[in-house]
């Protein structure tokens, strides 16, 4: 049987050219980011070499942390870009925490495999990033150039723009450029996606931590997170002790002292007693206030009464910046995780209210594959500096203690996005 009707011919010989063309700007943007990253990597290479050589003499040791921070940021940009290109989450990173004396920090940085992976990736990206970007973007620009040439070739004074192997000096030749341009565009559409993906896959391979970590590596991580947990615990105890001592205990002492004064006043001159009674009462009220704050700081009662979603809703209701909470995908988590989550949200909302000048803030809590994920995003001015006492350090400490992590993205001009991941351990 011969079909009686034929499929309508596609407008162009190559199927799907139009969608491909539509995707081209996005893909060009991603290529441009690869190129920018490649150029940065290229310019970082001499610094890596110089610091590396200086480290042999010991002079480079203080320069190591800032250098590795820079490389980490560069690799972090690439991890996110690769995620965007290949349509998935950013490439995971697994740096070992680095702390202690300068020498210990340097040793930690030099033995951190994740950092070393970054260093291996750096020269490769310097080469492939710039090459892929220049090739792909060159093709795209050439296509635009050629296709549009009939519109503007005559406006170039003096020398005529060069076509493909000939100078465009007449309308005829300019007209020839049109089909050539279309061909180049087709070529660009065909080449750019595999170029982009190929380069991204290479980056992903170089940057992804190996799936089967050695027991030693895993043990080092667990040890680090346990140390962080102990530190966090000690810091927490110290804070509670300080709160109790400076607040509650002193208020109660003031009560005792004023009661003593009242006793004396009643013996000698009862008319002096009423103002002292008033002060004693104020001090006792103050002690109760302080005690309530301390208790709230140890374990927020509302968490017990209403669960994490209810507790976060209460935080949102108190937020001066209008706050929308999404807890649709939130399940139960261990009490320690929920407590940490509560304080992280509280601190994040506190930061938003104090620093961001935002008009809206969104909080999302969800359980994703055994991890409690917290996202707080505002539409403020961004540029949050986590070193400027913004409480991010405290959040990190809480997250570290649970083997979790906190990432803060806050470009100048906003938006600010905080993401915390707390493994639930079940």
């Amino acid at each position: 049987m011969v079909p009686t009707t034929r499929e309508p011919r596609r407008p162009l010989a190559l199927p799907g050219l139009l969608p491909a063309l539509r995707r081209l700007p996005t893909q060009s943007g991603l290529l441009a980011r690869a190129g920018a990253g490649g150029l940065l990597a290229l310019s970082a290479l001499p610094a890596v070499v110089v610091v590396g050589v200086l480290c042999l003499t010991g002079l480079g040791v203080p320069l190591l942390p800032p250098l590795m921070r820079g490389v980490r940021r560069l690799a972090g940009m690439e991890r996110r870009r690769v995620g965007a290109v290949l349509g998935g989450p950013p490439v995971p990173e697994r740096y070992r925490p680095v702390e202690g004396s300068p020498v210990a920090r340097a040793r930690g940085l030099l033995t951190d495999r994740a950092g070393m992976r970054d260093l291996c990736w750096l020269p490769v990206h310097a080469l492939t990033g710039t090459l892929a970007a220049s090739l792909g973007l060159g093709l795209a620009l050439a296509a635009v150039n050629d296709v549009t040439m009939p519109l503007w070739w005559w406006a170039i004074p003096g020398r005529s723009p060069s076509g493909v192997g000939f100078a465009v000096d007449s309308w005829g030749r300019a007209a020839v450029m049109l089909p050539i341009g279309v061909l180049v565009a087709v070529l660009a559409c065909a080449l750019i996606p595999p170029l982009l993906r190929g380069q991204a896959r290479l980056s992903r391979r170089l940057l992804t931590p190996p799936a089967n970590r050695s027991v030693a590596e895993r043990l080092a991580e667990v040890t680090a997170s346990r140390a962080a947990a102990l530190d966090a615990h000690a810091a927490e105890l110290r804070r509670i002790e300080r709160d109790l001592h400076d607040g509650t205990q002193n208020r109660l002492l003031a009560v005792v002292m004023h009661l003593g004064l009242i006793e004396r006043a009643l013996e000698r001159d009862p008319e002096q007693a009423p103002p002292l009674v008033r002060r004693a009462r104020q001090a006792a009220t103050g002690a109760l206030d302080e005690l309530r704050e301390v208790v709230r700081g140890i374990y927020p009662p509302i968490l017990d009464e209403r669960g994490l979603d209810g507790a976060v809703a209460a935080l949102a209701a108190r937020s001066p910046v209008p706050c929308v909470v999404d807890t649709a995908c939130l399940g139960r988590a261990p009490a320690a995780v929920e407590t940490a989550a509560y304080f992280i949200v509280a601190e994040a909302l506190n930061n938003v209210a104090r620093h961001s000048r935002a008009e809206h803030v969104g909080v999302r809590l969800a359980n994703e594959e055994g991890t409690l994920v917290i996202e707080v995003e505002d539409d403020g001015r961004g540029g949050a500096d986590e070193r400027a006492g913004s409480g991010v350090v405290g959040m990190r400490r809480r997250a570290d203690a649970l083997d979790g992590r906190v990432t803060l993205r806050s470009p100048a001009g906003g938006p600010t996005r905080l993401r915390a991941e707390l493994p639930c351990g079940w």
Binding site: R242, H245, D246, Q249, N250, R251, L253, A254, V256, M257, H258, L259, G260, L261, E263, R264, R279, A283
Partner: protein
């Protein structure tokens, strides 16, 4: 009697000032940190001082160190150290110069105004006033071969009151016994601890505490 106070909590500082003024002391300066305390001691040459152990900036033992430094500059400067909790090691550090005129009390003792004012007067007169808690700590952590275990409960009471800087007359009154009985207890204590009998004021307390800390 001119007094300098160092206490960082404003409410407690005011309360202390009020309390001491009511008991006939003249508070010439009330400061909230160790540096100002040293300056005030230099300026006013007080007859007694009251210092909180925890002071800014770090809220650890700045007050204690300021007190020791003040006594280094002015040997024998009467210092009454107040603290939310007592630590026998701190007592030992305060007593280390062997000059007496040292008090170390829990802050909550200010509730008994009369007793507190009396303690400050005893310190100003060169006596030693240790909180009952300090003595309690020392008695608790004795080893099994310790001669303190030989003390009878009554003798322990006497020892604790001695550490609080009480005179023999006070001891007799507080324990409702005769001064002769007090003297007998003290002789027994010194004998059991292997100390030379010494009736001179705070020295016996220092000797006991030095022995206990050793």
């Amino acid at each position: 009697m001119r007094v300098v106070i160092a206490e960082d909590d404003a409410l407690l500082r005011e309360g202390l000032t009020l309390l001491l003024a009511g008991e006939g002391f003249e508070v010439v300066a009330a400061v909230d940190n160790g540096t100002d305390f040293l300056a005030a001691v230099d300026t006013h040459a007080p007859e007694a001082t009251v210092v909180d152990v925890r002071l800014p900036p770090d809220f650890r033992d700045e007050g204690l160190r300021a007190a020791i430094e003040a006594r280094r500059r002015r040997p024998g400067l009467p210092v009454l150290v107040l603290s939310a909790y007592v630590e026998d090691r701190y007592a030992a550090e305060l007593l280390a110069d062997g000059r007496g005129a040292i008090g170390y009390l829990l802050k909550q003792r200010v509730g008994d105004v009369e007793e507190f004012a009396d303690a400050l007067r005893r310190v100003a007169a060169g006596g030693t006033v240790m909180d009952a808690e300090v003595v309690g700590q020392l008695l608790v952590r004795r080893r099994s071969d310790d001669p303190l275990r030989e003390l009878t409960p009554r003798e322990r009471e006497v020892l604790a009151l001695m550490a609080e800087g009480r005179s023999n007359t006070d001891l007799a009154r507080l324990l409702v016994i005769s001064e002769g009985a007090v003297n007998k207890h003290i002789r027994n204590i010194f004998a059991k601890l292997g100390l030379a009998p010494d009736e001179a004021g705070h020295r016996r307390v220092l000797a006991v505490l030095a022995y206990l800390n050793g």
